[in-house]
Assembly symmetry: C2
Homo-oligomer: 236 residues x 2
């Protein structure tokens, strides 16, 4: 009797966006996998795949199967779960055919990544999964601002999505708020009311051509919304 | 009148230890800088330099000036400050001679790094400094355990040195405790008393030849001390 080996599902961190921030491991995995499944926006754009293209070159993708994964941006748990199941279905068909699938992820794949949801679903069905770590957006943002994220050894660092900001702004040490998008104006207002703007910085689209740095939000801040990939640092 | 240009002091993240977790940017910077200044232990060993050697090959270091930096392991602020000043003095002499100096750092250079202290001292004197971000140990540990660091989007992530553990164990979300060394047995005891062992994992020397994984500390734990580069994850 013949047993067909199933493929492995890899979550591959590609860093915040600058192609030189890929690791050797990420580049090797993306080059080796015959299938690249990447999240696309409603307009069909895939930021993660664009980073892969810039890092490895168009020719590295020749002959590969590119699978766009559509995820809803929703707060309805059922709608989200359904969107994750549909994406897992798409990935599963390649794994069943014995092909390894790499899913490139902006930043690091262990921190608030979409890969985690698909990984959980496919692991529960017995599929093999693996993760390649990378440079998180907040580490790259700190480097662009040329300042450490942490204070002394007695001071913690708290990371949270902006949607969860109110629960962490009173934590000791530095706070990092990720994935702001539409919630940024409300957060800036909250920081102003708390008197925190002068110790807060903002980095939008770190390492991308449209990058914007605001090292002191009390001196200058963006007029309106910024992209989803905005990182706010609030120092103690 | 002639003005001699001074060198730049680069903090270069090399990731947790596995050579394939260097970024392209880190490799390029380390290859370009004529001086590599790296922390050494009392026995003269430099883990950061060993990672550079394995990643770039011995020949990449040929012709470079290798500067060992000795730091005291002390809780006395004056002794620490003095040790940082002596290291800054060594780096400064090369910068004054117009040479760029790269200081390789295990993990990411923005998070509890020794580079930050030297950077602050040299920046205050007007020297140019820059940072290359990298893969933090906790992201690599999560990848080795093949599990996400974060829960849902309403749950934060708190990072702290083990010395600061008691201040963060009650925080919501996942807690990451870094740089344990001698304090590990006391932390394990505290986790046991809190009933947290079954949701805690430990990764020692992630990606190095002597790596050890303890995915469930209620099932198995190390007998004695582990190295300085141990990462503990405590899930919510």
């Amino acid at each position: 009797m013949e047993t067909k080996l199933k493929g492995t599902f890899y979550g591959v961190s590609v860093g915040p966006g600058a192609p030189e921030l890929l690791t050797y491991q990420a580049a090797a995995l993306l080059s080796a996998c015959p299938v690249i499944a990447s999240p696309v926006t409603a307009s069909g754009r895939s930021l993660a795949l664009e980073v892969v293209r810039r890092a490895l070159g168009e020719e590295a993708l020749a002959g590969k199967t590119l699978v766009p994964l559509r995820f809803v941006m929703s707060r309805d748990p059922e709608e989200l779960e359904n969107s994750h199941r549909l994406a897992a279905d798409r990935v599963r068909s390649y794994l069943d055919a014995g092909q390894d699938v790499a899913m490139p992820n902006i930043g690091d794949v262990s921190i608030y990544s979409t890969f985690s949801y698909l990984q959980r679903l496919l692991q529960a069905e017995g599929y093999s999964t693996a993760m390649a770590p990378g440079v998180p957006s907040f580490c790259a943002a700190a480097a662009r601002l040329n300042q450490p994220l942490t204070g002394g050894m007695d001071s913690p660092l708290t990371i949270a999505p902006v949607s969860c900001a109110e629960n962490v702004l009173d934590a000791p040490g530095t706070k990092v708020l990720m994935k702001s998008g539409r919630q940024l104006p409300a957060l800036l207002k909250a920081l102003e009311q708390r008197g925190d703007l002068a110790r807060s910085a903002l980095v939008c689209d770190c390492g991308l051509p449209n990058e914007a740095l605001y090292p002191d939000l009390s001196a200058e801040r963006p007029a309106g919304n910024t992209g989803y990939f905005s990182t706010i640092l609030v120092k103690e």
